[in-house]
């Protein structure tokens, strides 16, 4: 009960801060657009659609945007030392982890939801389906879980901007692969069997595993 209320208090505090300052969501949206525009010059040699590489582009953009959002989420805790306030309070480290994770998850989902139709237009994506929503949700949970964990480490160093991606991307490779492949199958409207038997279960296993491990070892990240 305490765990739940503390988790919600922390997540809600993050949401409220974000609604107030809007700095993460706005800069992340712009950054997401920039990623697509820049990749367009890198990949789109002949005038025409980027559709064949769209799933990859979508998830690369989501990954970069996620790193940005997660860095901000923890930077905020360190501005006035509020992290010490959280850690000195009688709440378990799991609650701190889950609170930060849910906060991050909610911004990322908002950012992704806003970017998706924009990408659909720019990348000429054929269809948008509820399955795609499920893929985005599961993959984003994976991003937010691993990312929040590493952001907590990176935020305590002087080089958090470089350290977070270096830690985050190699570990998140399975999520990227599963999300890209599943998105590709959904957008092509091809056989969905592999989505249900392979990629979605892979995402579920990844999420479940790290949702257990990360809170469990999160306390060790703060040993000064």
């Amino acid at each position: 009960m305490r765990l739940l209320s503390a988790t919600l208090a922390i997540a809600w505090k993050d949401v409220r801060l974000e609604v107030r300052s809007r700095d993460t969501v706005v800069s992340a949206l712009i950054f997401g657009l920039i990623v697509v525009v820049v990749f367009n010059f890198g990949l789109n040699r002949s005038p025409g659609s980027l559709a064949p590489v769209a799933p990859g582009l979508l998830w690369v953009a989501y990954g970069f945007v996620g790193v940005l959002a997660m860095n901000r989420a923890f930077a905020r805790e360190l501005e006035q030392g509020a992290l010490d306030g959280l850690l000195a309070a009688p709440v378990s480290r799991d609650a701190v982890f889950l609170g930060k994770m849910f906060g991050t998850l909610s911004f990322m989902l908002v950012i992704e939801a806003v970017l998706l139709p924009v990408f659909a237009v720019m990348l000429d994506l054929p269809t948008l389906s509820p399955v795609l929503g499920l893929i985005i949700l599961l993959a984003t949970i994976g991003f937010a879980t691993v990312g929040t964990f590493f952001a907590a480490i990176a935020a305590q160093t002087r080089s958090r901007e470089i350290l977070l991606p270096v830690l985050f991307f190699p570990v998140i490779v399975p999520v990227i692969i599963a999300a890209v492949e599943a998105t590709d199958l959904v957008l092509q409207g091809g056989p969905m069997l592999a989505v249900w038997t392979r990629w979605l279960p892979l995402l579920v296993v990844f999420d479940a595993l790290f949702l257990v491990i990360c809170p469990w070892i999160f306390g060790y990240v703060f040993e000064g």
Partner: protein
Amino acid sequence: MLTAALTIVDGYLIFVVAPTDQVLGHIQRIFYIHVPISILSFLGFLVCAVAGIGYLIRRGEMWDRVAHASAEVGVVFVTLALITGVIWARPVWGVWWTWEPRLTTTLILWLIYVAYLMIRHYAPTPQQGRAWSAVVGIIGFVDVPIVYYSVQWWRSIHPVQVIGPEAADDALEPIMARILVFSLIAVLALFTYLLLERVALRGAEDAVSAIRRQGNYE
């Protein structure tokens, strides 16, 4: 001493005793090094994760020294595995690099453990460095099998020419198999030797630190 002797004998076996592969030629000899090194780099990361858990529970600095040393040796071995893999790939597959599942997994493994070695130097205090290393080691180790399966599934959808060393496994002559086993033992000895030396060196470093701390107040 034993390690040196084993390594020399291993070299002799590989370059003189082992028959030249009829299809691949001399390049096939790299296989006797590549396979054991790859296997033992995984052992390095297993030791690293177990010692990391040990450190978090027991808090002995010895656990941390073992974890750090085995990750270092592991990274050296993975680097060699990648290099020998590339040398193998060029004449055999006609390309330097291919996104073959095992090669790709190995590359990602390498990235994870290079990050593991970096993290310690970014930590504000040595205590944090040790704890951070331990948690990254645990996460990395849990992640590796998932990376492997996802990469394999990914490749099974976009098939490429895969002529891994496993293709040679069935065709392995008995003499080749025996030399491979010997190589594995030699490389294991090398691994153990490097690990113990690194642990001892780190122990000595910590002892120097302790003496310095004392000296600051005398």
